[in-house]
């Protein structure tokens, strides 16, 4: 057994251990922290499976944005007030839940073990289509996302926007159109202000870099957008800037810009390049990069507004 196999097994055990910790943690805050740690370990697993693109997304979304989202949600619920012990389910319910979980895991295991070898995959077709004419990208992942399954990629961003609409609709009627509740206290700590001033510009540059380099190396629109969202949130927490009103014209335009530009290019492709979402091969790369630029904007705004929560007005329920 080589040292790498040994490390891989240790990593797998760690992931399972942290997953168990997330479930059994008595304190809601501890569970959220454990979940973020779980996301970071999962990113390491993706690295070991030679999928750096997925690892970047997992670290940014699973470890970062989801963690912040859950902490913010827990703060609204007042985490300390929730006594998990007192809401213990009855024994019958516990046995039933455990039985269902075991059944589900068992069926999943049988399905995975009974897959034919080699497993059926669309990867060769996707790689061939993505590296064919009209792609022009060095990173096959981005090529598949933007040229082989472009419609799915576009719809994923629409789902993000729908999620933002869902969060906004939870707000009180009197608060409609107002900005979400501020991220931090009125007078944030000096250390946080310093961190935001020093980190946010550097982080924004790295976010743009990850998007830009995604054409030819691991990276891409989602990873870059998530990083930009994180930097926006740091600046918001330090109260260097304030959250926009949710009826602001620019905010709504930024939210829909990515899918809208994507759809417009797709329809233009139907007329100019012969099929829906086909790119004219002469300038496929600049087209894909400009779609991705608008996607980065939409993703950054959508993720931040998801964390910010529903519109808020003092006194409204």
């Amino acid at each position: 057994m080589s040292i790498q196999t040994f490390l891989d097994i240790a990593l797998a055990l760690l992931v399972i251990g942290v997953a168990v910790w997330t479930i059994v943690a008595r304190d809601l805050f501890v569970a959220v922290v454990a979940y973020a740690v779980y996301g970071l370990f999962l990113a390491l697993v993706w690295i070991r499976m030679y999928a750096p693109d997925v690892a970047l997304t997992e670290a940014a979304v699973g470890g970062g944005v989801t963690g912040v989202l859950l902490v913010a949600a827990g703060k609204r619920l007042d985490m300390s007030a929730i006594d998990i012990d007192r809401q213990k389910p009855s024994t019958t319910l516990a046995i039933l839940a455990a039985g269902c979980s075991i059944l589900f895991a068992g069926v999943l295991m049988i399905v995975i073990l009974s897959l034919p070898a080699p497993a059926p995959t669309l990867a060769p077709q996707a790689a061939a289509a993505a590296s064919g004419p009209g792609a022009g990208l060095g990173n096959p992942i981005t090529a598949v996302l933007m040229s082989y399954r472009s419609f799915d990629t576009m719809l994923e961003k629409v789902v993000l926007i729908l999620a933002v609409v869902g969060v906004w609709s939870v707000g009180a009627d009197q608060a409609w159109g107002a900005a979400p509740a501020p991220f931090g206290p009125d007078r944030p700590y000096d250390a946080l202000v310093f961190l935001a001033k020093a980190l946010a510009p550097v982080g924004a540059i790295i976010g743009f870099h990850i998007f830009w380099t995604g054409a030819d190396a691991p990276g891409g629109a989602f990873q870059g957008g998530a990083l930009l969202a994180a930097m926006w949130m740091v600046a918001l927490m330090a109260r260097l800037i304030e959250l926009p009103r949710i009826d602001a014209r620019w905010l709504r335009l930024a939210l829909v810009a990515g899918p809208a530009v994507f759809l417009a290019v797709g329809i233009a492709g139907a007329m100019l390049a012969g099929s829906f979402f086909a790119y004219p091969s002469a300038f496929a790369k600049p087209l894909i990069l400009s779609i991705e630029a608008f996607m980065v904007l939409s993703i950054a705004v959508a993720l931040t507004m998801l964390v910010a929560g529903p519109p808020y007005r003092k006194g409204a329920p």
Binding site: Y189, A191, F194, L195, L199
Partner: protein, 95 residues
């Protein structure tokens, strides 16, 4: 030459790992939060710094080496700031 570089990397990374282990032991064993914070920042600053230093001569391009230095600087910045923030919250909670 390459033997010297290998030896340099091994010494630096081993020293870095030592600080990580020491920091983790401190995090687990120290009695109160400020001391635990103190142990943790040693791992962040010195541990990662030594690991980064050990990896520098193995990086073929200057740009790659620069990236390693930037990563170390960013972790120091966020680590130090986070330690400050946790410390402030602790002090506020004790009052």
């Amino acid at each position: 030459m390459s033997t010297a570089i290998d030896a340099f990397t091994i010494v630096c990374v081993a020293a870095g790992v030592f600080f990580y282990v020491a920091g983790t032991v401190g995090l687990l064993r120290f009695p109160d939060s400020p001391s635990r914070l103190h142990a943790l920042t040693k791992a962040d600053n010195l541990g990662l710094g030594l690991v980064a230093l050990g990896l520098l001569p193995r990086e073929p391009s200057v740009l790659g080496a620069l990236k390693i230095v930037v990563i170390w600087a960013l972790v120091m910045l966020s680590g130090a700031s986070t330690a400050q923030l946790i410390g402030r919250v602790l002090r506020r909670g004790r009052r």
